[in-house]
Structures are given as structure tokens and as C-alpha cells.
Amino acid sequence: MAYEFTKEDLEQIEEIKSRYPEVMPATLPVLWVAQNRFGHVNPEVQNLVAETLGLPHSHVHGVAEFYTQYYKEEKGKYVLDVCTCLSCQLCGGYDILHYLEEKLGIKKGETTQDGMFTLNEAECLGACGYAPMLQVTNDQYVNHLTKEKIDMLVESLKKGEKPEYEKIGMPQRENI
């Protein structure tokens, strides 16, 4: 399959380039544009990014490989990044991970056969106070996980309903 940016993507890329005095700084944001468009940045997409920006292929490859959020291959429709790091570990992050492994019938790092879910163990996602938690495909955080909440999440994702933004108030305050 040949990958191509749309006209809108290219406009966005031009806008991104305008934020920096050089082209190279656009590497990370444009990899994001590509991943949002194609769902991953496999080697072909990396080359597309390199050619679009006029940067060496090896540079874009090296950058894409350094950062964990870029998918270097196709993933499931939903990527579930379950945090198991420190606070989440203390509050049952591994139980959530293992529950999901069981429920989806896959091990961490794998994708379900129907291509619906990829399950990953993630490092600290910066939601330590709301542990255990997971992130859906680099987007919404789902906090305070329980088995019931996982069941509901998986069901609604299967139906194509993405989780809503969970606003968590400040424990000290009344209004927010």
C-alpha cells in the first residue's frame, strides 16, 4: 500500500514547520500527523515523513524508534496501555493487566485475532493518584480501574464508543 498525506495534512505540516526555525524540529509533530492519519508509522510511513520534510530516512527512522508512542507496525483498532508503574503497581495495576490478558485471550504486547485490541504494559502515565489506570490508543485516560469498569470499557469499545474525558476534581476543593 502506498501511503500519502492528504491536502489537509500537508497544510498542517506547513503550519507545523512555521513554528520552528529549521525543518528537523518538525520530525516529532509530523510523525504524529502521520500516525493520526495511518494509525501507525511503519517503515514506509517513516520514509514518507522523511521525504515530505526533506530529511534523511535514517533520521526519521531513528527518531520513530526512540519514542514508544509511535507504532512502528500496525496495531489493533484500540491499543490499551495499562500502567503498572509504581503507584499503579501498588494499587493493582498488574491485576488489571492480567485481567485484561485473560479477558482478551492475549498476552501483553499482543493483538487480538480480530484486530480489535492490542494490550500493552505501559510505564508511568502521570496519573498516579488515580491508579490503576490505562490509556486508550494514545488518547483518553481511563482511571480508577476495577474489573467491572474494564468490562464496561471493553464492551463500549467493541461497540465503537470511545471513552469520554474523565474529569477528576481536586480533592481539596469543592467547586472543581
Binding site: 528537523m24 503507584s87 501498588l90 508511568c124 493518584g129 480533592p171 476543593r173 472543581i176
Partner: protein, 431 residues
């Protein structure tokens, strides 16, 4: 306000105001007054330097973990020469246990924006970048909205509020790399490269982004600036612990009833934070240990905590550090061996791989700890671990190796019996 009065403290970073993220609400509540003042009130703020002096005087110690006086850092910028100069705001918070800056992005983005703009003006900076970790996509969107609102209201852009000062402000998203929270690694990442920390010197103030003078500040650090300008350095210094003054965003997580982010003066007693602020231990369990300021700060046993307050001086007396004030609380059921292995796993995963001691050492630490966790370790492995920490500490370009070594050293030293318990029994027998 002394530390003992923390109960009466009125928050300034995250005050109890509904919809404060909305720029109109922010302005209605006195927002952007500080910026307008430094830009236009020439009697009070004769020149950019006067702003730096006030901030230096306030002694806002960097809230990203290193605790360096922000105003002093600003004063290291060389004189402006008409060429680009940059402010890079560090919103890459990724240290396990730390989740405070996101609260600013979410609830009060403009206080940070205003602080960054004041900093930029004070250092005669031409462009501001805020680097936010890629996982915070939702907060990146919030920040982009807030910045765009501030552009619309004329607080960012050309000739701000008719003052003649112009500056641009952009969000740069990370993409999953803890190391990019290290300031020079963040610059590399901003420049579109692999996040390898830079060798210092040259320091960013001399050669930062694209070889130009650059200052890097943490989000919370900058968010404190408007209040310092509005109320003065003396007010700020009067809050909390004298050696590390001002309000702090405490992130409390782990086995407490009310985990979350709390804005309180520095120097609150740790036990108060656990028992009063965060609602006490979950399920009535006993406290076993606390990591005071993010996973790299040395762990403290419950019996070390009496009278210890959350400021650098007090924590030093028991051999720990304030770090990011991201406190992780552990109850009596916690398996310390598992916890240490998980911390080691984190640093192994996040080492950029540039320097030998960190690249190789973090992996070795984790592998030995996994062996011990699985019951296959021997007591000599504990001594090897301690030895390895000395082989890593202070031998690398950035502090990630130190951050990986300290928890291993201090956790083993402070919970040695639990580690030995997990090791294989000696095979030597007397015949």
C-alpha cells in the same frame, strides 16, 4: 505563614474557582494583571532585569526536582543581541509518582502561560515552547486552546498590550520518552532528534535550542511567577519552609484514602500529608514506607518519618530529597522487593542508551532484581547491586543513572532484611 498553619492556606495555583481554565474567568479573577504590570508599569518594573531580581529574591526553587532558584537561572542568560532566544517549558512530567503539572494544564493553564510570558519578557525571549509529554494528548489540546485564547486577547503575539514586546508561544508534543524530561534531552527532542541528553558545558543559557541562549523551567515553577509579581517576593518567601519557600503542588498516591494533587505550603509534615490531607491509610492499614518526591528519591521507612517535613533540609536529615514532591505511600502489605524491581524496570526501559554505565547498568540492576523477586537470588547479589550503584552514580552525562541507582541503594539498605528473606538460603552446610 508558618508550616504549622498549612490548614489555613489559600491556594493560588489552583484556587477554588469554577471554570478557571476559561480565559475570561481567569481575567475576571485578576489574571494577566501581573503580565500587564511588568510590561507597562514602568515605575514598578523599570526594566526586564527588575523582574528577574524580584523572582530571584523570591527564591522559587525549581519544581521539576532539581530545586534551583529560578530567578538565578534566568540571570544566567547572556545579554540580548537581537537574535532569537528561547524559553522551553518542561511539561514532560514522567517520574513515577509525579502528576502535578497536568493539573495546571487542566484547571489553570493561564497562570502558567502568564508566568511563562513574564519569564520571557524578563529574559527578552523571542519564542516560548512548552514541551508536554505525548501521553497527555488531552492536556496538549487544552493548552493549545488556552494559548490560542491568549493570542486572541492580545497577551501573546506581536506588541503585547501595546508594550512593544512580542513573543510567540507553541506547544511541542513528546512521544513517549521519560528521558525527555531531562532538560537538554528535551532540547534535543524539540529539535526533532532522539532524546539524548547533551554534554554540559555548554549550558543551555549559552547554547540551547539551535545553538541559541535558552532557559528551561518546569511548568509549576513558572506558574508561581504571577503571584510573586502581584504579591511580591516577600509574600512568597513567607510561605512554608524558609529554605525552600512557597506553595508546592503535592502529588500523593499509593495506599491513601484520598490520593490526588494538593496545593499547600512547602514543608508540611509528611505524616500530616498522609493522615490529614490525604485522608489517612487505605483500609486502616499501617504505614510501611514513603517515597517522598518521585521514584528516584530515596525511600523512607515509617519509623524515619516522625517530625520530617516536605522540604529539602528536613528530608536531607533522613537521607532523602524533595524531588518533585510526588509522594508515594505504601502500606504494611507492600512487597518492597517487587516495588524496587518495578522501579528498576522503569529506569531500564527509559534509559536512552547513550552512556555506558546507564545503558548497561540499568538493565543489569533490573535483571538481578528480577532474579531476587523470583526467589532465585543470593545474598551476594544484594552486595553486587550495591556495588553497581556506585559504578553508575555520577558517571554519566545526565542524572538518569543516579535516579536509577539511588532507589536500589537506599531501598536495599533500608529494607535489607526483606531482601535477604527473599534470597535463596545459603547452600553451605557444616558437616
Amino acid at each position: 505563614m508558618s508550616t504549622a498553619d498549612w490548614k489555613n492556606y489559600e491556594p493560588v495555583l489552583i484556587p477554588d474557582i469554577k471554570d478557571l481554565h476559561n480565559i475570561d474567568v481567569y481575567i475576571k479573577n485578576g489574571g494577566y494583571k501581573a503580565l500587564t504590570s511588568v510590561l507597562k508599569d514602568k515605575e514598578k518594573w523599570a526594566d526586564p532585569k527588575s523582574v528577574i531580581n524580584e523572582v530571584k529574591e523570591a527564591n522559587i526553587r525549581g519544581r521539576g526536582g532539581a530545586g534551583f532558584n529560578a530567578g538565578l537561572k534566568w540571570s544566567f542568560m547572556p545579554p540580548a543581541d537581537g537574535n532569537p532566544r528561547y524559553l522551553a517549558c518542561n511539561g514532560d512530567e514522567s517520574e513515577p509518582g509525579t502528576f502535578k503539572d497536568r493539573k495546571i494544564f487542566e484547571y489553570n493553564p493561564h497562570v502558567f502561560i502568564e508566568g511563562a510570558l513574564i519569564a520571557a519578557y524578563a529574559m527578552e525571549i523571542t519564542t516560548i515552547y512548552v514541551y508536554i509529554r505525548g501521553e497527555y494528548r488531552i492536556y496538549i489540546q487544552m493548552m493549545e486552546k488556552a494559548i490560542s485564547d491568549a493570542y486572541d486577547k492580545g497577551y501573546i503575539g506581536k506588541n503585547i498590550q501595546g508594550s512593544g514586546y512580542s513573543v510567540d508561544f507553541y506547544v511541542h508534543s513528546g512521544a513517549g520518552a521519560y528521558i525527555c524530561g531531562e532538560e537538554t534531552s528535551m532540547l534535543e527532542s524539540l529539535e526533532g532528534k532522539r532524546g539524548y541528553p547533551r554534554v554540559k558545558p555548554p549550558f543551555p543559557a549559552q547554547k540551547g535550542l539551535w545553538g541559541r541562549p535558552t532557559t528551561i523551567n518546569n511548568i509549576e515553577t513558572l506558574a508561581h511567577v504571577p503571584a510573586v509579581i502581584n504579591r511580591g517576593a516577600a509574600w512568597f518567601k513567607g510561605i512554608g519552609a524558609a529554605s525552600h519557600p512557597g506553595p508546592i503542588l503535592y502529588g500523593i498516591s499509593g495506599h491513601v484514602n484520598k490520593p490526588g494533587v494538593y496545593e499547600l505550603p512547602s514543608g508540611v509534615p509528611i505524616l500530616d500529608l498522609i493522615h490529614d490531607v490525604a485522608g489517612g491509610m487505605r483500609n486502616g492499614k499501617k504505614l510501611k514506607a514513603v517515597i517522598p518526591g518521585g521514584s528516584s528519591t530515596p525511600i523512607l521507612r515509617a519509623d524515619q518519618l516522625d517530625g520530617i517535613t516536605m522540604d529539602s533540609d528536613s528530608l536531607r536529615t533522613v537521607g532523602s530529597m524533595l524531588g518533585t514532591a510526588g509522594m508515594v505511600v505504601m502500606d504494611e502489605d507492600t512487597d518492597i522487593v517487587d516495588v524496587l524491581w518495578r522501579i528498576a524496570h522503569f529506569y531500564h526501559h527509559e534509559s536512552c542508551g547513550q552512556c555506558t554505565p546507564c545503558r548497561e547498568g540499568t538493565g543489569w540492576l533490573e535483571k538481578i532484581l528480577l532474579k531476587i523477586k523470583n526467589g532465585d537470588g543470593e545474598v551476594k547479589d544484594l552486595d553486587l547491586l550495591l556495588d553497581l550503584t556506585t559504578q553508575m552514580e555520577g558517571r554519566t552525562i545526565c542524572a538518569l543513572a543516579d535516579a536509577a541507582a539511588w532507589p536500589v541503594r537506599f531501598t536495599i539498605n533500608r529494607f535489607r532484611d526483606e531482601f535477604e528473606e527473599r534470597c535463596k538460603k545459603s547452600v553451605h552446610a557444616f558437616i
